[in-house]
């Protein structure tokens, strides 16, 4: 069921060999702007780690500080146990795939890929062999003599990969690697990238602004906002157990009910929500003060729709405002008595078992307490 379970994330990896990257209290300022603000982060060996965030969230700056293309004003960057805070890019055991690919326009594909090995002063025969190998791995063996401008966007991307991977870096950094590809090519490249990481076995750190891309590829995600990391976890954790409204909202649709916490015990919270008209129960990670203002979050696909009063942890009454059939599911907008609009996603089976509801029908929406989160931020 869980597509993320087969991804290489071993919980013990962090403690076993130490993290491959450690970011300790790193701050980076550009003039008056603080791009990265006291960030702490550990990335395990062999992870497909994703830095996710909107523009200006500091994700690219953080990646560039791991690459050695920017240097922190404060804090420490440790790569594979070595302090690399001020080491220049050419001295780091990492390679980067640039968003624009940055293939040298005056060099052929082969020479682009060989560039890094020549800088390492490897023997000629070894360079030839490793370049051939890298190009073959990406199905680009027939394009060695071409110049970058003679390649399509997808081919350029493969060459950029080959060039970064041929040096056998400890970490591959990817700055929006798929942004320049069209949608169809991008989806294929996502799958290829995950497979490629499994084959080469090294750590990938990717920057993206696309939450779907991050969810479908990463073993762990760090969501960034205003230079800070808001939450780190597996895609499932971020989706199901967001720590704040911002995280809940960033990952797909979320129904949010404002309320006041009345009771919290054993990981469950009860909140008085005027918008819902009833008290709502949901999972509550943090110990919160009674009476604190909280938000209860429920994902649209966790909502159940029924015509009669259901027996459930949470149930609200409302009238269907609209139903849109979107192929795999029905998108249903329900107006509650308070006037709040709630989104529900119904699978075809749910839709039928609810008796094919239509706009104007009075219905109940219900969900178990395990499907809701009580958020204090």
């Amino acid at each position: 069921m869980d597509a993320h379970q087969d991804r290489p994330l071993k919980p013990g990896a962090l403690s076993a060999a130490g993290p491959i990257v450690r970011i300790d209290n790193v701050t980076k300022r550009f003039g008056v702007v603080t791009a990265v603000d006291a960030v702490n982060l550990e990335i395990a060996r062999g992870e497909f780690f994703c830095l996710l965030g909107g523009s200006g969230s500091g994700k690219t700056t953080l990646l560039r500080m791991i690459a050695g293309l920017e240097f922190p004003d404060e804090g420490q960057v440790t790569i594979d146990g070595e302090d690399m805070t001020h080491a220049p890019a050419y001295a780091r055991p990492v390679n980067m795939m640039f968003q624009s690919y940055a293939l040298f326009p005056h060099l052929s594909v082969e020479k682009n890929v060989a560039f890094g090995l020549q800088e390492e002063k490897r023997p000629k025969a070894e360079i030839v062999e490793r370049v051939r190998e890298a190009l073959a791995m990406l199905d680009m063996q027939d394009f060695g003599a071409r110049k970058p401008h003679q390649l399509s966007g997808g081919q350029r991307q493969r060459v950029a990969f080959a060039r970064a991977l041929v040096k056998h870096p400890k970490i591959l950094l990817l700055d929006e690697p798929l942004a320049a590809l069209d949608k169809k090519l991008r989806e294929r490249a996502q799958v290829e990238l995950v497979r490629l990481r499994e084959r080469v076995g090294i750590t990938f750190i990717m920057v993206t602004h696309d939450q779907e891309e991050a969810m479908s590829m990463a073993s762990r995600i760090a969501l960034m906002q205003d230079g800070r990391i808001v939450q780190v976890g597996s895609p499932r954790e971020l989706y199901d157990a967001p720590v704040s409204r911002y995280v809940a909202d960033f990952f797909g649709g979320a129904n949010l009910f404002e309320g006041k916490l009345t009771r919290a015990e054993r990981g469950e919270g009860v909140a008085e929500c005027a918008e819902a008209g009833v008290t709502l129960r949901g999972q509550c990670a943090e110990v919160s003060v009674q009476g604190a203002s909280v938000t209860v979050m429920v994902r649209p696909e966790r909502m159940q729709l029924s015509r009669t009063q259901p027996t459930a942890d949470n149930a609200v009454r409302g009238r269907i405002a609209s139903i849109v059939f979107l192929g795999g599911f029905h998108a249903c907008r329900v107006t509650l008595e308070s006037g709040k609009i709630v989104l529900a996603r119904l699978s075809p089976a749910e839709f039928m078992s609810a008796g094919a509801p239509a706009p104007g029908d009075d219905i109940y929406l219900s969900w178990p307490a395990s499907a809701a989160r009580v958020l204090s931020r």
Binding site: Y90, M96, A102, F104, H106, E119, K167
Partner: protein
């Protein structure tokens, strides 16, 4: 309708074509014709290219002037020393201009335009006056010698003016902007990410410059080199004002043949020789640039 637009089209192309024919090709042909006849005293000071004999035109072309160009050491030496002086000057200008262009292209955007203005500023003064001003600086009682004498660094004035050194100096000074501008144009467009990629792949800054920046800026270097080399080859003012009596350059020889010896045919032959000399590197440049575009 179609005929009308066709006529308009041929007019648009025809006008510059007629201009080029009248003011470039025709004079060139006249010079070529004069180079093939003999000198005489009178007006014009050369024998006619063709005469009418019993109703038919008869050509009087002869290659004597060209034969002289190749047989008299003076002309060959003038060509060779012109090439040498123009080439060394262009190289010196390149080594001065490249760092300048690099620094300007990497300067903050707000100071880039003022810096470029400073490079172009000397053009606001007449070329002749600027070169003449150097005589005042290089003179035996000029700025440099006086300063050195006053500081007690030398006892007798250095011979600076009327030397080949002064000619190089004058050419480099005069044509430096022509070297700076094309190199700047290429460097300014250069994507910084290439250098980051080079560093990421393990290249130290100097290696990154040699393997990435320099090759990518070669089109600008080529253009700048020829923009300095070609006019320097036929330069007259600089060797005349700053050069010594033994500084041999085609421009000067040409002037002497034309105005002192009134040997128009030989001067024309020299001019044609100079043109051929310029055409070789120019075609080479266009070939290289076309290849760069195609690649």
């Amino acid at each position: 309708m179609k005929a009308h637009s066709q006529r308009a089209g041929s007019f648009v192309i025809g006008l510059p074509a007629a201009w080029l024919f009248l003011f470039v090709l025709l004079p060139l042909l006249i010079v070529l014709a004069i180079s093939l006849v003999e000198m005489r005293t009178g007006s014009p000071p050369y024998t006619p290219f063709f005469t009418w004999e019993s109703g038919l035109p008869r050509m009087h072309a002869q290659g004597g002037n060209y034969a002289l160009l190749f047989s008299d050491r003076l002309y060959i030496d003038a060509f060779l020393s012109s090439i040498r002086i123009a080439a060394t000057s262009a190289f010196i200008a390149l080594f001065i201009a490249y760092p300048m262009a690099y620094a300007i292209s990497r300067a903050k955007e707000s100071v880039r335009t003022p810096l470029l203005m400073l490079v172009v500023l000397p053009f606001w003064t007449s070329f002749l006056i600027r070169v003449y001003a150097w005589t005042g600086i290089l003179n035996s009682n000029g700025l440099i010698n006086n300063a050195l004498l006053n500081f007690g660094l030398i006892k007798t004035p250095l011979p600076l003016l009327h030397t080949e050194f002064a000619v190089h100096l004058g050419i480099v000074y005069s044509y430096l902007p022509f070297m700076v501008l094309p190199i700047f144009a290429v460097l300014e467009k250069l994507d910084w990410t290439y250098l980051e990629a080079a560093a990421d792949l393990g290249a130290r800054p100097l290696k990154a410059f040699l393997r990435v920046t320099l090759p990518l800026s070669l089109p600008g270097v080529f253009a700048g080199f020829l923009l300095v080399f070609i006019p320097a080859l036929g330069e007259f003012i600089v060797p005349e004002l700053l050069g010594g009596p033994d500084t041999l350059m085609i421009g000067r020889v040409l002037w002497t043949e034309f105005f002192s010896n009134r040997d128009w045919p030989l001067a024309s032959a020299l001019a044609v020789g100079l043109l051929v000399l310029v055409l070789v590197p120019a075609t080479l440049m266009f070939r290289v640039m076309r290849k760069g575009e195609a690649a």
